[in-house]
């Protein structure tokens, strides 16, 4: 019988070096204590509301709905949060927890830079030192976010190992954590890694579905028929799904990055193309070769460019509670342009994967059906890269 701690079906667990075991045990004990502590929850709510700008809006996308001519479309506007993405929800929770644990330093990995910026922000706010690991390739794709993190007082370490993208940033942050545990909290940015991270991050992101539910009941007097979110590691998706998991009438749809297509090697669609494995502290699905070597994945979106998926998503897939679909670069870029022109909202290229799938399915749905798309982040950071994708050479 394998260890049942932190399991979602067969997925999850704590596959990490012995050096880190006491650190994750300490974290689990602290979290179990503080998650029920009224003072902690009061402080976190205050940070969510007064600092991050929660609750985020649930916006009826009237023009998009009329244009597609099918289901009614609502956008959950996580892009309007402070720092421009859902990442701040998790980071404020973890930074507050780290502070309560007496830690004075945060380390984090980042792909697109949104989690790094959010961590740097929380570190500045709470007076913590901060070091962010970012794949060298991503520091080029997201140069503005590198500057932002430095402006906020964080050190940014470009990671050159492996494919120099998100997975290598995670590996490097884990390596750094093994060298310095006493004063350092690893502020993991997604619902992945060893237990208790997938649970902690999920709980802090679950505010998204809690709000969607309340807002939807207020606006429509009923639950939505589908909730759609993009999935890299899967933090905004699990946050968007969580409070609907028990509501079987609500379809939960996660959109993975297909890159140039799931029939090519240039893809990051883990559930479509991966298989069960053990990596980065967890058992889950991973893109890998026949020998278990982790595949060098690709997506236009640095935030979805990860060869694994959070263990709870792997489980929701196994039991058929959530559907996972793959969206290509081209479809995501078109959705990026579409939402900008139709609603005046520039979504992050990550979130554009979710928008793209809604554009595919909404027209075939009845007009009395309701779709909620989580716009996990704003797309300003992506403008230069999308322009380049379209052949326009602009520099930030």
């Amino acid at each position: 019988m394998t260890n049942q701690k932190g399991r979602f079906g067969v997925h999850g667990g704590q596959y990490i070096p012995e050096t880190l075991m006491n650190a994750v045990i300490e974290l689990e004990e602290a979290y179990d204590h503080y998650k029920n502590d009224p003072e902690f929850n009061r402080e976190l709510s205050e940070l969510f509301n007064d600092y991050a700008g929660r609750p985020s809006r649930l916006y009826y996308a009237k023009k998009m709905t009329e244009d597609l001519g099918g289901a009614k479309i609502y956008l959950k506007r996580e892009d309007l949060n402070h720092t421009g993405a859902h990442k701040i929800n998790n980071v404020l929770g973890q930074a507050l927890l780290a502070k309560k644990m007496g830690k004075t330093r945060l380390i984090a990995e980042t792909g697109a830079g949104q989690h790094g910026v959010a961590t740097a922000t929380a570190a500045a706010l709470m007076g913590l030192d901060c070091v962010v690991f970012m794949g060298e390739e991503d520091t080029k794709r997201q140069a503005l976010n590198v500057y932002r993190m430095r402006l906020l007082g964080s050190e940014v370490v470009p990671v050159k190992s492996g494919t120099a993208t998100l997975k290598d940033a995670v590996s490097e942050a884990m390596r750094e954590w093994t060298t310095r545990i006493a004063d350092t909290h690893y502020c993991l940015g997604s619902v992945m890694g060893p237990h208790p991270f997938p649970t902690i991050v999920r709980d802090f992101q679950a505010v998204i579905s809690k709000e969607i539910k309340e807002q939807m009941l207020q606006k429509e007097g009923r639950l939505p028929d589908a909730v759609i979110a993009c999935v890299g590691g899967g933090s905004n998706a699990i946050g968007s799904f969580y409070h609907f998991i028990g509501d079987s009438s609500v379809r939960l749809i996660g959109c993975e990055a297909a890159g140039r297509g799931i029939d090519t090697f240039e893809t990051a669609a883990t559930i479509s193309t991966g298989r069960l494995g053990i990596f980065h502290g967890m058992k889950s699905y991973f893109c890998q070769d026949e020998d278990g070597q982790i595949a060098p994945v690709y997506s236009i979106s640095a935030g979805l460019d990860y060869p694994g998926v959070g263990p709870e998503h792997a489980h929701l897939h196994d039991i058929g509670r959530a559907e996972y679909v793959a969206v290509t670069d081209e479809e995501a870029v078109r959705a990026f342009e579409y939402l900008s022109k139709t609603e005046g909202i520039i979504p992050a290229i990550e979130s554009s994967h979710a928008v793209a799938h809604a554009i595919k399915i909404a027209p075939a749905m009845d007009k009395d059906k309701i779709i909620v798309i989580t716009v996990s982040g704003r797309g300003d950071k992506d403008c230069a890269a999308i322009a380049r994708y379209r052949g326009e050479d602009i520099h930030e």
């Binding site: 704590q14 050096t19 190992s161 545990i181 070597q293």
Partner: protein, 256 residues
């Protein structure tokens, strides 16, 4: 019970680590033979992994070189079959959980037993997750080696009591790699280990000089050296075995 205890019957054990296929499998075979001829007591063979999260830059680079050279798990098994024609010292594999899991635990571990691999070191399998592979390891008589770290503290006794083969005591925080100084209070850790088990305990991570090896072997049952050997493979390539043979002799002489 495997043959691992034999490695500790010849005074303090010297345990070199070699990444299979860096720069090619022929060089790995020659390096193992050179190490054995010069007094190595147990050979730790690394099966390369794309993302070795417990390794420092030196062994990371060796993993990449080996994979670029086309090493596959099956080719590593063939290498061991070939080595076992004349190499009699105990040998263990060091790799990551996914390499074993992906091959199929039963298929991988039964092959280990068949070709003469005595143990398995998996740095991303802590005590809590050992059930993932332990039942299969026991079925085939392959020791699943336990690691103890400077941060193990209250966990040392629990891990030591259940340990098999030998205990791999990690000398310092962080990842593998050469260190100028090792500051952990290893004597206290070893004394807790001794109270809980009779199996031998070897120290690794950061050891490169004969002085360091002697110091580590004096307080334990042996010294494990990886990065300092891999550096010579990086420097000398296919000519490395001769240099590594001389190095192993110097290290074994220092701790003997």
């Amino acid at each position: 019970m495997s043959n691992i205890k034999k490695a500790f019957e010849n005074g303090k054990a010297f345990i070199p680590f070699i990444t299979c296929g860096d720069p090619d499998l022929e060089t790995t075979a020659a390096t193992v033979r050179a190490a054995v001829a010069n007094g190595a007591d147990l050979i730790e063979l690394g099966i390369p992994f794309s993302d070795p999260t417990a390794e420092g830059p030196v062994i990371q680079a060796a993993n990449i070189r080996a994979l670029k050279g086309g090493v596959k798990t099956d080719k590593v098994f063939s290498l061991v079959r070939e080595l076992r024609k004349d190499v009699t010292v105990p040998m263990v594999f060091m790799t990551y959980a996914n390499v074993v899991f992906s091959y199929g635990s039963e298929r991988f571990i039964s092959t280990c037993a068949e070709i003469g691999i005595d143990g398995l070191i998996l740095p991303d399998i802590p005590f809590e997750e050992r059930e993932e592979f332990l039942p299969v390891c026991r079925k085939y008589g392959v020791d699943l080696i336990s690691l103890i770290a400077p941060t193990s503290e209250n966990r040392i006794g629990m891990i030591a009591k259940e340990a098999e083969g030998f205990i791999y005591l990690v000398s310092s925080l962080g990842v593998t790699g050469v260190r100028s100084e090792i500051n952990t209070d290893l004597e206290s850790i070893v004394s807790i280990i001794r109270k809980n088990t009779d199996i031998p305990c070897a120290i690794g991570f950061g050891i490169s000089t004969p002085e360091q090896a002697k110091k580590m072997a004096d307080i334990s049952d042996g010294a494990i050296v990886g990065s300092a050997i891999i550096k010579q493979l990086a420097q000398y390539g296919t000519a490395a075995p001769e240099h590594i043979g001389a190095y192993v002799k110097e290290m074994k002489d220092a701790i003997r």
